[in-house]
């Protein structure tokens, strides 16, 4: 015990470096500079690969060009692309398809996601495995998922048609991808399958963070399962539901791979969303000015939707 009163051994002092550019960022005085410095790599990446292209896209959308230019003000500005856009029936069709898909896929995904999360949040043996399996589609690349579904949906030999026929739901095999309504349903089915697991994961995490005491207190007060769900679970989940909703909406609205590989936007534009149309115009018809105008419209709609949703759910999100 008394050892501690011995003369103090010499401890090597910490090296007094002068740091970066002679500024010691470890000094309390420079903490703030260090804070900004840490943000720099992320900000540079985003400025270079997201913001600069965004500005370019806006620029290109005001030029009548076939290919993307990399400088600003290179040729005359024109509103031609936008005029053409707003008078094009394809454009309004794409808006309609996007909106329909948005509402249908988002609402079904949210419901399925909530249901799945509630299910695997119950106490039962093998719950860990069930949690893992039920969200597995999240980890499957969209292209792979779609190709698998193409086989399942195959008009002649697909297993889905066989099942539906067997169950007597349909009388004749459906040609899923060649008719407008079935094609739209197929897109919905695949998107829900691919999209609900993420929502489940989010909601599950939200469910786990609700203190058990809330439920116990409600039980003591005599609330039944349904009332507990309405008065405890849902309000506590609001933040997570809000975030999931925003992310899902943005995903559905902007997704390219699923529709491109599944239907290519067809038949006769029944599944042609804004995203699909933009890409087609740019890389199939090489009308990049026009495509950029479409992209800018997509961006504006995204901004409006998320501003609206964030406002509706902001008390919960931030």
């Amino acid at each position: 015990m008394t050892d501690l009163t011995q003369p103090r051994p010499v401890t090597a002092p910490v090296r007094r470096s002068s740091g970066l550019f002679g500024i010691d960022l470890a000094s309390p005085r420079h903490a703030r500079k260090l804070g900004y410095l840490l943000l720099l790599p992320a900000v540079l990446l985003i400025l270079g690969i997201l913001v600069y292209p965004m500005l370019l896209a806006i620029e290109i959308s005001f030029h009548d060009v076939k290919f993307a230019t990399l400088s600003f003000g290179a040729s005359d500005y024109t509103l031609k692309n936008y005029v053409k856009l707003f008078t094009s029936s394809d454009f309004w069709n794409a808006i309609g398809v996007s909106a329909k898909l948005l509402v249908v896929v988002t609402s079904i995904s949210m419901l399925v996601g909530l249901g799945a999360a509630l299910l695997v949040n119950q106490q039962f043996r093998g719950r860990g495995v069930a949690r893992m399996l039920i969200a597995l589609p999240w980890a499957i690349p969209e292209v792979v998922a779609v190709i698998t579904w193409l086989w399942i949906l195959d008009a002649s030999f697909g297993v889905l048609n066989w099942m539906l026929l067997k169950l007597g739901v349909i009388g004749l095999p459906i040609s899923w991808l060649n008719q407008p309504l079935p094609a739209f349903s197929a897109v919905t089915m695949v998107m829900v399958w691919k999209g609900f697991p993420f929502i489940s994961i989010m909601i599950l995490a939200g469910l786990q963070s609700i203190p058990e005491e809330y439920y116990q207190a409600a039980r003591v007060d005599g609330a039944n399962v349904w009332k507990r769900f309405i008065w405890i679970t849902l309000p506590c989940l609001m933040p997570v539901l809000g975030v999931s909703l925003v992310l899902t909406v943005l995903w559905v609205f902007r997704d390219f791979s699923i529709i491109n590989v599944l239907t290519g936007g067809g038949p006769v534009g029944a599944t042609e969303t804004l995203a699909i149309m933009t890409y087609e115009e740019a890389f199939s018809f090489f009308r990049m000015g026009y495509a950029s105008a479409l992209g800018v419209v997509t961006l504006i709609i995204c901004a409006l939707i998320s501003a609206f949703l964030v406002k509706k759910t902001s008390h919960a999100v931030f």
């Binding site: 840490l38 690969i49 799945a116 292209v143 943005l250 890389f283 950029s292 961006l299």
Partner: protein, 276 residues
């Protein structure tokens, strides 16, 4: 609360049916890949292949470049995730610890950049990559993916760092660390589950990409990623569904495995990122 027997049965039945419905496509992928070509069109379909054909996979390796595609995908995903993790760790840490009014705005800016539609960005990016001579090079994909991962990853990690008490790195600094050392020796090890979840998110995002790969790499088959390869391959081998499904399964396998290992971290990580 004890559950009654019928409630238990109902619960297990629901779970099993739900999992079966959700997992059916994966199951069907496996089964189809093992069917002999003749029984692909069997009616009724075979739900268990009578005679599993493992040589389908051998044929796949011989006839296609799937291994190269997967290697390309792996290179891109690992590098892009690595780059984005460096940026996201630093930014997330800064947003969590060095809060000022302007850094808060930068944080919102980072989050908002997730809103930009990729189908719009890809038009000028196509031109940019071409002028940089990166068209057909994996680097074009690496930079695009890294940047796509950064926004959400930054916020996921910020959530994680927020849950670690400030005093931990203060103690480390008093103990002789620079702020830098405190981050690497104390905060990052403590945030390991968060780092794992975020890396998984990044890896999945990059591995799943099709849009950028298709646009930047289409004309250089050597650098195709697995999704691009399979989509093209599917077009050529229209009816060899056993081959196509075998390729699909291989393409999905790496992240399915990573997901199975890291899933429990993901559940915590997602809401952390959502600003719970």
């Amino acid at each position: 609360m004890k559950r009654k027997l019928w409630q238990s049965i109902l619960l297990y039945a629901t779970v099993i049916v739900a999992c079966a419905v959700v997992l059916f496509p994966v199951y069907w992928m496996v089964v189809t890949s093992l069917q002999p070509p003749g029984s692909l069109r069997a009616y009724p379909p075979h739900f268990l292949p009578p005679d599993p054909q493992w040589q389908t996979y051998i044929r796949l390796f011989i006839e296609t470049d799937i291994l190269r595609w997967m290697a390309n995908s792996a290179i891109v995903a690992v590098t892009a995730t690595g780059i984005s993790m460096v940026a996201a760790v630093l930014a997330g840490y800064s947003l969590s610890r060095y809060q000022t009014k302007s850094s808060e705005n930068v944080g919102l800016f980072i989050l908002m950049s997730k809103m930009l539609p990729a189908t719009m960005l890809i038009i000028p990016l196509f031109g940019i990559m071409r002028s940089l001579g990166l068209m057909g090079s994996l680097w074009s994909l690496i930079f695009a993916h890294a940047t796509a991962i950064v926004p959400f990853a930054t916020w996921m990690l910020k959530g994680y760092f927020d849950s670690i008490p400030n005093e931990l790195e203060q103690a480390a600094q008093v103990d002789g660390c620079t702020p830098w050392g405190a981050l690497f020796r104390v905060i990052l090890p403590v945030a390991a589950p968060g780092l794992a979840a975020t890396s998984l998110y990044g890896f999945v995002l990059s591995w799943a990409d099709y849009l950028f790969a298709r646009t930047f790499l289409a004309n250089n088959a050597d650098s195709w990623t697995v999704n691009l390869g399979i989509a093209t391959f599917k077009g050529e081998y229209q009816t060899d569904w056993n081959l196509v499904m075998a390729a699909s399964l291989l393409a999905a396998l790496p992240i399915m495995i990573a997901y199975l290992f890291l899933q429990r971290f993901l559940v915590g990580g997602m809401t952390a990122g959502a600003g719970k």
